[in-house]
Symmetry: C2
Subunit: 268 residues, 2 copies
């Protein structure tokens, strides 16, 4: 299995603090040592750092930890391989372009017997279930919406529908962004926290590091951090119900909807 | 305008030495200060570092310079903007996936009145002539070869044909790779050198730095380095004739063909 980290904000924000705790889980405080990656949207552009080495020992991770890249949408992933060899082409997040926008995707879970027909518009380069699911998801979106990038709500409806189909094959926690919204699916586990004024101190669970966000933020700032497991031990994280799809925008949840019968996630 | 740097080898090799000289041209010894990027293939996977800051002052460039990433195909670019604002989405190299392989592209030049019809299969995210040319090139290749990634020679023929069409719109020096071959078009200027045994010392033109390749290489190693302008001042670089398309494989030119009437590049 793997762990996911996402951030969605209303102003470009750096993720150095959260990434410091997350990075430690890649082989130091936890077992996810089969590579890691992080993608930052900056406007419509992106920066994507991938490394098949454990994040706790990666010079690239050290750079990311100390170099404040400010972004409104970030997706990171540390890998414990379930399918596919430990290799760069199997390292998340994955990137594709559709409708003249970049799309970034990372997955935690395991899909069984998931080999949907792919028409060639988006094909996996590696051999993970995760990249296959991403390609099928984009192919299906493009089949549905043809030449026109859909609006946010139509996109949410479509992603919800496709998530139901893929989830029938197993555990499918994922983060997906096109730079505007961050879609998060809690198949089994995912938590989030919203940081906004009044900002306080936060202390990492994985390292003895405290940051005082009131010294670093403006009064209007709003930041949603989403992670497989809470990254801090003195803040109140919200556990997302197993079987719920969320859309975050401008640093807050905008929609959520159940993805399994009986899930407590309420239709939006 | 911009400058290009490419490397194609028969064994995974690091580009730290060449990149050191190239990096200096991004705002220190030359004027290409509108961003830079470098892409490394590692097997079928890639690492792509992009920065809209000048390379001479970029912490990410410092990392690339000191962290030996071993690759058989590398493409780097430093930008002096001619079309498109200085922004991350306009920073080369550009990446797309086709036939389940990643394709990396960087351009030096300026295309005028180049607005070919794009069918949506590959669309630019930014607003440069360069990314538009790359998208049209991939779209045209996919139209021609449908579901089957062509072999090297058929691919060279097709790229030659498309290069003729795009070159009618202006200066179109480019580097393109899918991780197997490195295609290089000298529209106006591009040079290369092949390093093989017996290896000797090389001294950078842009910095007082010498490396003794005989200490770093094996007897079978073969490395082609391609650059807008020679990077060393004590080696004999080959100027590629203006109007010639080249295919490099395993560290040596495999094919070349003229792309303008009367060009001295001989048909292969």
């Amino acid at each position: 299995m793997c762990q996911l980290l996402g951030m969605n904000c209303n102003v470009p924000t750096d993720i150095c603090f959260s990434f410091t705790g997350f990075q430690a889980r890649g082989g130091a405080t936890d077992v996810h040592a089969d590579g890691w990656g992080i993608a930052f949207f900056e406007g419509r552009g992106y920066r994507l750092f991938l490394d098949p080495q454990p994040s706790c020992a990666s010079p690239i991770a050290e750079l990311v930890r100390h170099y404040p890249i400010r972004s409104k949408n970030v997706i990171a992933h540390i890998r414990k391989a379930s399918q596919g060899v430990v290799d760069l082409e199997n390292t998340h997040p994955f990137l594709r372009e559709a409708w003249g926008r970049y799309w970034i995707f990372a997955h935690n879970g395991n899909l069984v017997d998931f080999s949907p027909p792919l028409d060639g518009s988006f094909l996996p380069v590696g051999n993970t279930d995760s990249e296959r699911a991403f390609c099928w998801l984009l192919q299906s979106l493009r089949q549905r919406f043809a030449d026109q990038l859909p609006g946010r709500d139509a996109l949410f409806d479509a992603i919800h529908n496709l998530t139901l189909a893929i989830s029938a094959h197993g555990e499918f926690n994922f983060l997906l962004s096109n730079g505007d919204s961050l879609f998060a699916h809690a198949s089994t586990r995912l938590s989030y926290i919203i940081r906004r004024a009044p900002f306080t101190q936060a202390h990492l669970s994985d390292q003895d590091l405290t940051v005082d966000f009131s010294e670093l933020t403006g009064p209007q700032d709003q930041v949603a951090v989403i992670a497989t497991l809470p990254l801090t031990d003195n803040e109140s994280w919200t556990t997302m119900p197993a079987g719920s799809l969320w859309c975050f925008e401008e640093g807050a949840p905008h929609q959520q909807r159940a993805t399994r019968p009986g899930s407590p996630a309420s239709p939006s």
